[in-house]
């Protein structure tokens, strides 16, 4: 077990090759912590000679970093916020890259009884009705935005339960999962982070497969007009590679336990 952990650490922490050419990619904790980058980025670097420095943040923070010009390219998952970023002239064009899905996770005992339903709206209404503990990211991340959208579509305002059953942790996916595991709470997670997450305790996937749980990722180069220092050429080759056949195949090839974590769909966009 120890050896396996060390190997995992090694592949996450491979020292960067001493490349002069590099780009800074601001992305989400879900993509980094799922291990996707560890799989696909070495392939990109081998193909182009461009190293990628990943700063993993929530989508909201990643967009802020892009707005300030502190990254060359963004890979994020909050369509509405992405569109505002592009409309604001901070970067673009936004290209669709891949998707996976969100899953509604909760304690195996399932006190709100949501495991029977496949309707995420109904599940959220039952959680609110039962006033069962629910952990929210509360950090302006893509997952947080998706969660808020789902509550709204379900016709429930969880803010009323704030400080009681609705608990905003203001942290990344992993800490939120740790919190939910400790409190036997429900929460919304992206599937990739969930699959890679180890401290599950009693947590289980209770609701999945609803079309509204789609989690779409987009890639956006930061505007060189707005920030002249950005590495526009390198960022463009990253985007081209990612939405091209090699990148798409690399994404499809990343699996944990035989299960794919992300589904390339650049050509659909």
């Amino acid at each position: 077990m120890v050896t396996r952990r060390v190997l995992l650490l090694s592949c996450l922490a491979t020292p960067a090759l001493a490349q002069d050419r590099f780009i800074t990619l601001a992305s989400t904790t879900s993509t980094e912590q799922s291990g996707l980058f560890g799989h696909i980025l070495p392939l990109f670097t081998r193909a182009t000679g461009i190293a990628v420095r990943v700063v993993a943040l929530g989508t909201g923070q990643a967009l802020d970093v892009g707005r300030r010009g502190d990254a060359d390219v963004l890979l994020v998952h909050d369509r509405a916020a992405e569109d505002r970023f592009v409309e604001g002239g901070f970067g673009g064009p936004r290209r669709q890259v891949m998707y996976n899905d969100f899953v509604l996770i909760g304690p195996g005992a399932d006190p709100a009884g949501i495991a029977m339903t496949r309707d995420v709206g109904e599940a959220l209404r039952r959680i609110a009705g039962a006033r069962a503990p629910f952990v929210s990211r509360g950090d302006r991340s893509g997952t947080h935005a998706a969660e808020l959208r789902l509550w709204q579509e379900a016709g429930v305002d969880p803010v009323a339960g704030r400080g009681q059953w609705y608990r905003e942790v203001g942290q990344g996916m992993g800490p939120a999962l740790n919190t939910a595991a400790a409190q036997d709470a429900y929460l919304l997670s992206d599937r990739g982070t969930w699959l890679a997450f180890r401290n599950r305790q009693g947590l289980k996937v209770l609701v999945e497969g609803d079309a509204r749980l789609l989690n779409q990722y987009g890639v956006i180069p930061v505007s060189p007009q707005r920030h002249p220092h950005v590495k526009a050429a390198e960022a463009a080759s990253f985007v081209e590679w990612l939405i091209g056949p090699e990148g798409q195949a690399a994404i499809a090839g990343y699996r944990i336990g035989g299960e794919p974590l992300f589904f390339p769909n650049a050509t659909d966009g």
Partner: protein, 234 residues
Amino acid sequence: MGDLGSAVLAAIALIRDGDPAMLGILGLSLRVSLTALGIAALVGLPLGALLAVARFPGRHALVIGLNALMGLPPVVAGLLIYLLLSRSGPLGRFGLLFTPTAMVIAQAALIAPILAALSRGVLEALWEEYADQLRSFGAGPWRAVPTLLWDGRFALLTVLLAGFGRAAAEVGAVMVVGGNIEGFTRTMTTAIALETSKGDLPLALALGLVLMAIVLGVNMLAQALREAAGRGGA
């Protein structure tokens, strides 16, 4: 076996195998924290000595300010340096954000006030003893500063260790300005934070144990140095 047990075993394995990725992270942690310590010492120790010997208007306020800065949350120090170094900030054109240099700057900013405040306390006691004698030798406050720094060197070693401990242990500042980039700005503490958020608590704890072992080693080395010097003279 419980998580604690696996953590200890994992820590032993990490050290025994000399896992290259971990060694890289550990090396960066030490390099960043020791460089930050060196820079902070160049500023903080003379400032502390000057505050111990000099009497000028505003000194009292400065001392209180430095004492308060000892409690500066690392993430706040990190945020201030982030805003300075960001491409949209005043020092943006140097492109230092998300580099080890940024982490050094943030940690130096974090611990320089600690070194200044602690060394002022230590050196003020020494100055009380030395003041008349040094004035009798004709040494003014400016000349007294290097004398106090040299003669207080053993007490200052403890001050430096406190600063090093703070730098090596903090995660807030390096996370914000370094970005926890794998193989580039990932340190022991940000790796611990990452493994924690991935739910791999035993590995996170194992890394923590390794870090503590290294900090303990540095402290023991300093203690040995102090004892050897104490025997030799001075």
